[in-house]
């Protein structure tokens, strides 16, 4: 994890948070599956990577974890976004939009 840049970590955390916001409670496998689908397999990372993200988000209090039962009767750990997580997501999403807008413009300017 130490070699990965802060930005990538932050990006992954934001994606996990958004997924939980949109889909409701999910287990790690579900989140990883959803991320793969969304990115159309562009993000070629191991599914295990989501767990580091999940630990960080739990520690920050933005999501919480609970053992539950899956649809086909397997026990699995389910993650749920907390109200604080929602607030954080809104703020980060704003930031993201602003920054990506700036970066987009910057890249266009450079390529001109």
């Amino acid at each position: 994890m130490a070699t990965k840049s802060e930005i990538l970590q932050g990006t992954l955390d934001l994606m996990v948070l958004k997924t939980l916001d949109a889909m409701g409670p999910l287990h790690g496998y579900g989140i990883a599956l959803r991320l793969e689908q969304l990115s159309d397999r562009v993000l070629q990372v191991n599914q295990g990577t989501v767990y580091a993200s999940l630990v960080r988000l739990v520690q920050k209090g933005w999501i919480r974890a609970e053992w539950g039962t899956s649809e086909n009767n397997r026990s699995a750990k389910y993650y749920t976004i907390t109200p604080r997580g929602r607030k954080q997501l809104a703020a980060e999403a704003d930031d993201w939009a602003r920054i990506s807008g700036v970066i987009g413009k910057l890249l266009q300017l450079e390529s001109r």
Partner: protein, 886 residues
């Protein structure tokens, strides 16, 4: 944001505390992940094996995931602690001299405290190992040792309202024969209810009970202690039911007590227990009906009823006693009783022991403080030496907190390893102490086993000391200005900033001087008591204890056997004189008797003129013991049971009863039983009970008129002790091979009266030595530090033509001033506290030129030696080399 941070730290701390469970939970989560994915894969049509393999591939390396998870969930400051420890270890390893000195200093401080506290814990803090020790009390007379007679005990037992039940016991010495091997053994003769009162259950067999007592010699049972059973019967479980001989009387072994029960007297460990009603068979004392024999009961004890305070119970006992005095005025005088803990024989032994141990504890704490002061100044000096390193780290962005933590880590590393070393030493010493039997003739020994308390104290003290001396350099580091220190050539104000450290050093030297002074006082007192006037001459004399009763001699056979023993001893070559005495002075209890003036007719205790020590002796005893006869004559063989009763009295007796020594010979006095004695001689005064006593009246009676079967042969000879002892043994065996005897030189028997003084002296000596080493290290450290700090200044002074004396003054003046100030203060304080010592060590007085001079010389020597190397270094400075640096 701060809230977030706190939340994160708390969450990490929580999981760090249960990292193991966190890991398990994560493994479960990964397993469920794999299963879910495998099922999906199978649903998509894969083979089960392939499905699992694919799932593993997609998830990633399990071990790596687990490690990452642990790293995220773990506590970052544990990592940093490990870092600090590693760094501290490296730093300390770089200066082994400093590290070894510091660790040893700490080891001495902690070791001394652990040993002293273990003793304190074993003797004062730890309750007796019987059920409900908190309500167990014993009854003690406040005026003398003798307690009650057996009938008194029965009255107290049956009439008191305060005790659940009252037990009593005596200490007896008997020849114990398990089959052809009579040997001396110590026992407890106990009332029938003894074990039931204490609540002690047997390890093997059974114990005796009150219901088995049916008058004199009705219960020939014996219960062995664990240690005797273990030592003499090799843990043979079949001993129960076997018969042994106690002084030729058969007793049946009915049980063995558990190992933790050694009677209720802490300092002694008996070999066996027997019912008190059978005591007559063992030592011939028929006490069951003797109302006047107040020596009959050694101690009465029991549990207080719930809600009864010791004071109430004492009032109860006193009330019964005053009633007994009214009923039996011939036998009893008014007396006061108090309640105390049984383990230390009431306050008589308890108070001095407690005072002694508290004194030792104080000294040990002083030593630890000195060690801390020492290490504090060493650390401060080091911090100053490392100021550049610290400044550099600060300049490179290290936080002050981190640097402080580093310093504390080093301090704790030293204090904890020193503490561990000290504790190991302490445990070793305690093991020796535990096995130690200071007097071969008595069953004395104290269970010094260290317990949880001792370990906890050692750990606590180590950590506290580390924090204490680690804190000394804190202000120095916090106040450091990195730029000032790094500037080339800057010596900053480090050399000037030591008043606090000076103070530490002065305090430490003062503590050392206190210890040196008081140990010198003790040593001198001990020396004096060895040469004090004893009233006998223990050198070149051997004591032989024979208990004829043990060998089955009847009362009428005893005098003849004693005569034959004396004659046999006389035939040994080199023997100058041989005497017999029933109680050797300064060797345990000397009997006492009340003395009445000749004209007194009402012989109640209140009318007695004095109480005198009584010794029954053979005609040649005074000569053999080296006691000078000042007037009159010695006893002769004609002073036997048919002759008129005669006595030899000491000077104090003569003065007190007859007014003067000169007129005593020929006068008469009476004892309580009405017997009238004529004084035929006056002997010199001596010490009888203990070394610190004032002159006491004493009298000698002819053994033939006051027969005793338990006597000591006093054999004076210039022959070599070992050979003499062998000769004595073979002579005795020639007379009667079944006679148990105990042979000891009088010099070594003197270990008993000298014991407290010797213990005090040894303890103080060791502590004094430790204190000296500590202040030596302290002075050395300080002097070396101040020389190295002021090297340049000294160089300039020398270059400018300063004389050697001036250089030394400049370099060492401070240390020497501290030494002088500290020594003076310590000497003064030492003299003040030495007064306490005089209660333990005979004739201990600080008003002694040798003590004062000795302490002063010792302190100067310490100072001289400690400053020698730094002084050499200061004098060998070469200014040019020095000034070229920087």
């Amino acid at each position: 944001m701060l809230g977030d941070w706190i939340r994160r730290v708390l969450s990490r701390a929580r999981s760090a505390l249960r990292l193991h469970r966190v890991d398990e939970d994560f493994q479960r989560e990964l397993a469920s992940h794999l299963e879910l994915m495998t099922e999906d894969n199978i649903r998509r049509g894969m083979e089960p094996g392939e499905a699992r393999r694919q799932a593993r591939l997609r998830l990633g390396g399990l071990d790596q995931l687990r490690e990452t998870n642990l790293e995220l969930q773990g506590l970052p400051f544990i990592d940093r602690l490990m870092q600090d420890l590693r760094y501290g270890w490296r730093v300390l390893r770089k200066s082994p001299g400093f590290t070894i000195t510091a660790v040893l200093t700490m080891a001495m401080g902690i070791g001394a405290n652990a040993v002293v506290f273990a003793a304190f814990n074993a003797i004062i803090l730890r309750p007796l190992s019987v059920p409900r020790p908190e309500s167990l009390y014993s009854i003690h007379r406040t005026d003398d040792l003798a307690a009650q007679s057996y009938p008194d005990y029965i009255d107290l037992r049956d009439r008191n309202q305060s005790f659940e039940d009252l037990a009593a016991y005596n200490i007896v010495l008997a020849g114990l024969d398990t089959g052809g091997n009579p040997s001396r053994a110590w026992g407890i003769a106990a009332s029938g209810n003894y074990f039931d009162v204490l609540g002690v259950q047997p390890l093997l067999g059974r114990v005796f009970h009150a219901g088995e007592e049916h008058g004199s010699n009705s219960a020939p049972y014996v219960v062995l202690t664990y240690s005797y059973w273990h030592g003499h019967f090799r843990d043979d479980r079949d001993v129960v039911g076997r018969t042994i001989q106690l002084n030729k009387h058969p007793f049946t072994i009915i049980g063995v007590t558990p190992p933790e029960f050694r009677g209720t007297l802490l300092i002694a460990s008996p070999d066996f227990f027997l019912p008190m009603v059978n005591q007559e068979q063992v030592d011939g004392s028929n006490l069951l009906n003797d109302r006047g024999n107040r020596d009959a009961i050694f101690m009465a004890l029991g549990h207080l009823k719930s809600g009864v305070t010791p004071a109430q119970a004492a009032a109860d006992v006193n009330l019964i006693w005053s009633d007994l005095v009214k009923t039996y005025p011939k036998d009893h005088a008014p007396a006061k009783f108090a309640l105390a803990r049984p383990s230390l024989y009431g306050e008589r032994l308890g108070r001095p022991m407690r005072a002694f141990l508290v004194g030792l504890m104080l000294l040990a704490v002083l030593i630890l403080l000195a060690a801390c002061a020492n290490l504090g100044s060493l650390f401060a000096a080091r911090a100053a030496d490392r100021s550049r390193e610290v400044a550099l780290r600060l300049a490179l962005g290290a936080r002050r907190l981190r640097i402080l933590r580093q310093l504390f880590t080093e301090a704790l590393l030293i204090s904890v390893s020193g503490g561990a070393l000290g504790l190991c030493g302490a445990l070793l010493l305690l093991r020796l102490l535990r096995a130690w039997q200071p007097f071969p003739q008595w069953p004395l020994n104290i269970p010094f086993a260290p317990d949880r308390n001792v370990y906890a104290l050692a750990v606590l003290l180590s950590v506290a000391s580390g924090l204490l001396f680690g804190a000394v350099p804190v202000t120095q580091v916090l106040g450091a200005d990195s730029y000032e220190i790094i500037k080339p050539g800057s010596q900053s104000r480090a050399g000037r900033r030591i008043p606090f450290r000076d103070l530490l050093l002065v305090g430490q030297i003062a503590m050392c001087a206190v210890l040196v002074t008081s140990s010198l006082v003790a040593v001198r007192g001990l020396g004096r008591s060895l040469h004090s006037h004893l009233g006998f001459e223990p050198r070149n004399t051997i004591l032989v204890n024979t208990l004829l009763e043990m060998a089955g001699y009847g009362k009428d056979q005893v005098p003849d056997m004693q005569k034959r023993m004396v004659e046999a001893m006389r035939t040994i070559p080199g023997v100058a004189s041989v005497g017999l005495v029933d109680r050797v002075p300064l060797n345990g209890n000397v009997g006492a008797g009340l003395i009445f003036a000749d004209q007194t007719s009402d012989l109640r205790p209140a009318n007695a003129t004095a109480s005198a020590s009584v010794m029954a002796v053979s005609p040649e005893y005074l000569q053999a013991a080296g006691t000078a006869l000042l007037a009159g004559r010695c006893f002769s063989p004609d002073d036997d049971k048919d002759g008129p009763r005669v006595a030899i009295v000491n000077q104090e007796f003569a003065r007190r009863i007859f007014g003067s020594e000169a007129t005593a010979v020929g006068k008469y006095f009476k004892q309580q039983d009405g017997a009238r004695f004529q004084v035929v001689g006056v002997a010199e005064d001596g010490k009888y009970g203990n070394l610190t006593e004032d002159p006491e009246p004493a009298m000698f009676l002819p053994l033939l008129q006051s027969p005793a079967s338990n006597t000591w042969l006093v054999v004076r000879s210039f022959a070599e002790t070992q050979a003499l002892a062998t000769a004595i043994k073979s002579k005795l065996a020639g007379l009667d091979s079944g006679l148990p005897s105990f042979i000891e030189s009088w010099g070594s028997a003197m270990g008993l009266p000298l014991f407290p003084a010797r213990m005090a002296t040894a303890a103080l000596g060791i502590l004094g030595l430790i204190g000296t080493v500590l202040s030596f290290v302290g002075i050395f450290g300080m002097a070396a530090y101040s020389v190295s700090k002021r090297m340049k200044e000294l160089g300039i002074r020398m270059a400018l033509g300063a004389q050697r004396a001036q250089v030394l003054e400049a370099a060492l003046g401070r240390s020497l001033k501290s030494l002088a100030l500290g020594s003076a203060a310590g000497l003064l304080f030492g003299i003040l506290i030495s007064r306490v010592l005089s209660s333990v060590v005979y004739q201990a007085t600080p008003r002694d030129p040798l003590v004062l001079g000795g302490a002063a010389v010792a302190m100067s020597l310490v100072g001289l030696l400690a400053t020698w190397i730094p002084a050499q270094r200061a004098l060998s400075l070469r200014p040019l080399v020095l000034l070229r640096e920087d």
